[in-house]
């Protein structure tokens, strides 16, 4: 599954719900696979009493990873040339996130058809938690 330059146009969008009611356990699961055991993501006592946050919160990289899943589902496996984001808001347990891709440009680069994609992920209240961009190789 991959995208064809001939069937794609600027302004096309694709979106996916990438998590629903995010659990603390999924955050722990991500800590285990990524190796980032910062207690801010799993240790409620440390995070509220020492660091001064209202609750543990997700790794930015978990939100980026979930958003990346939307991208690979859209553009196909092994098609990304670049992917970058800014973490614009923290994601707390209970979050439901929707990730959206918008095609901003289709161009030829070194003999390949490339799509430039704007990426945005927001929570159920419409707060944007990730803003970014990606490029992907098209057929």
């Amino acid at each position: 599954m991959s995208l064809k330059a001939s069937e794609l146009k600027v302004g096309d969008t694709y979106e996916e719900e990438v998590c629903r009611n995010l659990s603390r356990t999924q955050i722990v699961q991500y800590a285990g696979t990524s190796g980032d055991y910062n207690p801010l993501h799993s240790d409620e006592i440390f995070t509220t009493q020492i660091a001064g946050y209202p609750s543990v919160f997700a790794h930015g990289m978990l939100s980026m990873g979930m958003t990346g899943r939307m991208l690979t589902n859209y553009v196909g496996d092994g098609r990304l040339k670049s992917y970058g984001v800014r973490f614009t808001s923290q994601v707390f347990p209970g979050a439901t996130l929707t990730a959206k891709a918008t095609i901003t440009d289709i161009r030829e680069e070194d003999g390949e058809q490339i799509a430039a994609i704007e990426v945005s992920t927001q929570d159920a209240d419409g707060v944007v938690v990730i803003k970014g961009q990606a490029t992907a190789r098209l057929d």
Binding site: Q29, T47, P54, L62, G68, R69
Partner: protein, 165 residues
């Protein structure tokens, strides 16, 4: 994130895919993966972050025999020293940006070497007051043949106050 040897393993990719809620069969079934365009188990786009597992000095992993700053019998496991400011280190740093450039796709079976060098740094006034100090680090992942596979640029921010948004 520096790692002399970051072996990219199919089992690790499967567990990583689970943790980001990605049900794509390519990460779970090697036989299926062989039939796809990448021709094998490809890593999810943010997988190289897991090279932290292979960085012997990664500071956000508890080290055997050392105090850990997360809670234990008290709210932090760091023993308060006389005259010191107490524990709780590591609470002020957050991840602000992450960028990847894929020179080729990372595949199970690759053995990558990660080398990190500092990038730019800058300061900004926060929305709620207090200075924000940004600093960039650039990690290059090279394969067995010495070819560049991924360039990862990470931007961290140190906040004077907890950065709740």
């Amino acid at each position: 994130m520096a790692a002399e040897k970051f072996p990219v393993e199919a089992g690790h990719i499967m567990m990583f895919a689970r943790s980001i809620g990605d049900a794509n069969e390519i990460y779970y079934d090697e036989d299926y993966a062989k039939t796809t365009e990448p021709g094998g188990t490809v890593a999810p786009p943010t997988f190289v972050q897991a090279s932290a597992q292979f960085d012997p000095n990664y500071f956000l992993r508890p080290k055997i025999g050392e105090e850990w700053f997360g809670s234990a019998s008290g709210p932090t496991g760091i023993t308060k020293r006389e005259g010191g400011s107490g524990g709780g280190g590591g609470g002020g740093g957050l991840h602000a940006e992450q960028h990847y450039v894929y020179h080729r796709q990372v595949m199970a079976g690759d053995v990558l070497k990660a080398t990190t060098k500092p990038g730019k740094s800058w300061e900004k006034e926060g929305r709620r007051g207090g200075k924000l100090k940004f600093s960039e680090s650039v990690t290059e992942y090279h394969d067995q043949k010495g070819e560049l596979v991924v360039t990862a640029t990470s931007v961290g921010v140190q906040t004077e106050k907890p950065a709740t948004s």
